[in-house]
């Protein structure tokens, strides 16, 4: 039974991805393109050369941060939908430090990342306090706080930190930019993201506190009866997940975007939620999913240029992956499906005999 459910957890996303591609191919064919050529150009665009790989990984970096943010919170039973707001708050504070502090170079980078991390954590803590002490629904609060953060960023780039006639902030100084790796678009931000993922993986599965946090996430009442400080874990999970998003926001600013501008970070929060779910809340699987989605996004431009299939077909495939995975995971939990699996197992056993 255990093995079956583990297998299902792995198979559902894989089958969902395959199905999504099959439907994507049908759409491409209907549009008059050869699906195989289109898929090939999608692949080449994403992974065809070292340069493209670098671009894909760079594109995946903010998604890794926001999906780890969602993953960590959900592991503690907290539905943090505010990854985007926390991401933006991190980037706003980071932007202030980078452009206004007067320090430059490595100390500035460290201070920027630290400040962004703290800002993200503090922004999530607002929702955490309201949940723990006022019993408010964290989903609603975090979504609302996303709007607040987006609007605040608007004020920042149109007023407080506006640079010149265009509504955007000044670029961060060159000395504060994260270094590129091997001359590609990928930066050290990607390394930080992977490190964060590994750290979370270790914390959740190899430490006593991580074990207890997962217990809280799976059954709060039992965790309380067994003597765990449930409220403290919930607050902790808000702060840490917000901090991860905040770090992501600062890394995105220092590594890729360099300035705050309309649309900065838009959509990353909810993308992260979907990726964490597809990755079954496993930090390492979540990273792979984020890279996969980034590849679809990067590759779709090449696909459009080469075959005329619009990039929105790639969006459709991404959406279908989410729909199929969520539906599939619900399906394998159905008793009828479990009974079916049981019958199949019996049958194969008999045949083996």
């Amino acid at each position: 039974m255990k093995n079956n459910s583990k297998l299902a957890n792995f198979l559902v996303p894989v089958i969902s991805i395959l199905l999504a591609f099959v439907i994507g191919c049908v759409i491409m064919a209907v549009l008059g393109a050869n699906p195989f050529v289109a898929l090939q150009s999608l692949w080449i665009g994403a992974f065809g050369s070292l340069r493209n790989v670098g671009t894909t990984l760079a594109r995946s970096t903010p998604l890794i941060f926001t999906s780890l943010c969602a993953c960590f919170a959900y592991r503690c039973g907290v539905f943090n939908l505010g990854g985007e707001g926390q991401f933006l708050m991190g980037s706003i504070v980071c932007c202030y430090i980078a452009t206004k502090s007067g320090i430059e170079g490595l100390p500035a980078i460290l201070l920027c990342l630290l400040g962004g991390t703290a800002a993200g954590g503090a922004w999530a803590l607002v929702a955490g306090l309201l949940k723990v002490y006022r019993n408010q629904n964290e989903m609603i609060i975090t979504i609302m706080l996303n709007y607040v953060a987006t609007l605040l960023m608007g004020v920042v780039y149109t007023n407080w930190l506006r640079d010149g006639s265009v509504p955007q902030t000044a670029s961060v100084p060159d000395a504060d930019k994260l270094s590129r790796l091997f001359g590609l678009r990928i930066t050290s931000a990607f390394v930080i993201a992977i490190a964060v993922g590994l750290l979370i993986y270790y914390f959740l599965f190899y430490t006593s506190k991580g074990f207890q946090l997962r217990a809280v996430g799976l059954n709060m009442t039992a965790a309380e009866f067994n003597g765990f400080a449930v409220k403290r874990y919930i607050l902790l999970s808000f702060i840490v997940s917000g901090a991860i998003a905040g770090l992501g926001g600062s890394a995105e600013l220092l590594g890729t975007q360099f300035r705050l501008i309309n649309g900065f970070g838009a959509g990353y929060g909810f993308d992260g939620v979907a990726m964490a779910l597809i990755g079954q809340l496993h930090p390492l699987a979540t990273i792979l999913v984020a890279i996969f989605f980034a590849a679809l996004r990067v590759g779709s431009t090449t696909m459009q240029a080469a075959t005329g299939v619009p990039t929105s077909v790639s969006d459709i495939i991404q959406a279908l992956v989410i729909v199929f995975t969520v539906a599939g995971l619900a399906m394998v939990k159905l008793p009828q499906f479990k009974a079916f699996l049981g019958r199949m197992a019996d049958k194969t056993q008999k045949e083996a005999v």
């Binding site: 039974m1 255990k2 190899y206 430490t207 006593s208 506190k209 074990f211 207890q212 997962r214 217990a215 799976l218 059954n219 009442t221 039992a222 965790a223 309380e224 009866f225 067994n226 003597g227 765990f228 400080a229």
Partner: protein, 502 residues
């Protein structure tokens, strides 16, 4: 008097288990007929058969002399059978009026003639003395008033027979008086009432006839005028006392936990404690007997630190408890077998192994570097040892506990809670839902813990279990302690009366 309803040889079987066996029951027009029985005696199943939720496995139901099939609750309503559930079935956001006409099958067409309906309902209410305010929403009215709405709803649908399931459980004394008046009025008008209650005082006051159920069968039906509380209590418990398998301890050691006049929500009869004083010594089992929902859950949660009492003192091994937290009580080596093993005891989506070490991963035995690195091998080895010692039947220690049987789930909890040699074990309904073998195992384990010097507080609605293992028996009723009895040659009759609040 005319007979309204008759059940003949009705049985209801679930698998091999008879919840009701060969029930014969007759309800006359204009009588209050009480069903009396312990938890699990089969009252609820029988009523579910009557209102069409279950189909009887065998037997026939007659209404006014005609055999009927009741295959749905809607059919029961058409036949004039209405039920007021213990937990009301009202839509809280709607008004009293809307709740009463909700789902009424006489509603035809799109529009409802509200004024005519209201007049009808008010006439009905007046006739039976049911005082309700039609335009208030359910959330605005008191519990007693909500109950009147339920009764009115049933009457409006044409009920001739009303089933009242523990109707007084949630009411204040004054509201109970009001309810009894209404019940009298209803029977005067020829309606019949099936009254389900555990409270002897009320049963004796309001009933015309009383049917006693035990283990799914009818023991007997008595006229109220020809019986008394003592006889009813005996019939309800009703067994020759089988001698206990276990030796009883008569002089326990020093107190492990001592409660002095502890109050918790003391005005709540069914979820509170009122001046509870209680001592559990080392090496004894104190059994709390009583019908479910008389404050036992709250008692268990106070002595495990989950709830903080409103007043009174709790001494743990001689020193006063200042702060009530589960963690603090665990540090004092209090173990807890909670009443709901899935909700409170186990993390269902975690493995047997993880649940066994749930409380102790911080200890150096299972993690190094102050908890920063789990010793997975040590945890595995320990879990395998416990699996063998407590005979936990699972496909592997990696199996999720939610997929285990109830008995094996309980063994996982026992392995976790008893292995550290606790000073106090609080066990709440520890064998509920278990088969005989697993029950015996749990009892043996508790006795073994006692003999090692652990104080055990056993809370159970199963009277047999209390008699079997308790060295002292404490009876609780409506949040109060009704009496303390010796577990050796216990006075069954006195105890059963105390359980019924006399």
């Amino acid at each position: 008097m005319d007979e309204f309803l008759r059940m003949e040889h009705v049985s209801k079987r679930f698998g091999d288990f008879y919840a009701n066996r060969d029930i014969n029951l007759s309800i006359r027009k204009g009588e209050v007929h009480t069903l009396l029985g312990e938890n699990g005696a089969g009252k609820s199943t029988l009523m579910n058969v009557l209102i069409g939720l279950y189909q009887p496995t065998e037997g026939t139901i007659y209404l006014n002399g005609q055999a009927v099939r009741i295959d749905s609750p809607a059919q029961a309503v058409r036949l004039g059978i209405g039920m007021v559930h213990q937990h009301f079935m009202l839509v809280e956001a709607m008004t009293v009026f809307e709740n009463i006409i909700l789902g009424d099958r006489n509603t035809k067409g799109i529009f409802i003639n509200k004024e005519a309906r209201k007049k009808e309902i008010l006439e009905l209410a007046e006739r039976y003395g049911l005082d309700v305010e039609l335009d208030k929403s359910i959330t605005e009215i008191a519990v007693g008033a909500q109950q009147r709405v339920e009764i009115l709803k049933a009457l409006y649908r044409g009920a001739e027979l009303l089933i009242l399931d523990e109707p007084s459980a949630a009411l204040t004394d004054i509201e109970v008086e009001g309810l009894f008046k209404i019940m009298r009025k209803l029977t005067e008008e020829g309606k019949s009432i099936i009254f389900i209650s555990h409270k002897m005082r009320e049963v004796l006051r309001i009933s015309d006839r009383i049917t006693i159920l035990r283990a799914g069968e009818v023991v007997t039906t008595l006229e109220r005028s020809q019986t008394d509380g003592q006889e009813l209590a005996n019939l309800m418990i009703g067994r020759e006392l089988a001698p206990s398998h276990y030796g009883k301890v008569e002089d326990p050691g020093s107190p492990v936990i001592q409660l002095r006049s502890v109050d918790y929500h003391k005005d709540s009869k069914h979820a509170g404690l009122n001046g509870v004083s209680l001592t559990v010594g080392r090496g004894e089992i104190v059994g709390i007997a009583g019908v479910d929902g008389n404050g036992q859950s709250q008692l268990a949660q106070v002595v495990t630190g989950v709830l903080t009492p409103d007043a009174g003192e709790v001494d743990m091994k001689g020193s006063k408890v200042a702060q009530f937290t589960p963690h603090g009580f665990i540090l004092e080596s209090v173990s807890h077998i909670p009443e709901d093993r899935n909700k409170m005891g186990l993390i269902g989506n975690m493995s047997v192994k993880d649940n066994i070490v749930l409380k102790s991963t911080d200890s150096p035995e299972f993690s190094s570097a102050r908890g920063y690195h789990l010793k997975k091998k040590a945890i595995r080895d320990y879990a395998l040892k416990m699996q063998e010692k407590y005979d936990i039947r699972c496909t592997s220690i990696e199996q999720e506990t939610r997929n285990l049987s109830g008995g094996n789930q309980q063994k996982v909890i026992l392995a976790r809670e008893l292995e550290g040699h606790p000073d106090l074990l609080v066990a709440v309904h520890p064998t509920r839902g278990l088969d005989i073998g697993a029950t015996r195992f749990v009892h043996d384990t508790m006795i073994e813990a006692r003999d090692k010097g652990c104080g055990v507080l056993l809370i159970s609605a199963d009277f047999d279990e209390i008699l079997e293992v308790s060295d002292r028996i404490v009876v609780m009723f409506e949040g109060q302690i009704m009496g303390v009895f010796s577990g050796k040659n216990p006075p069954i009759e006195e105890i059963s009366l105390a359980m019924a609040g006399k």
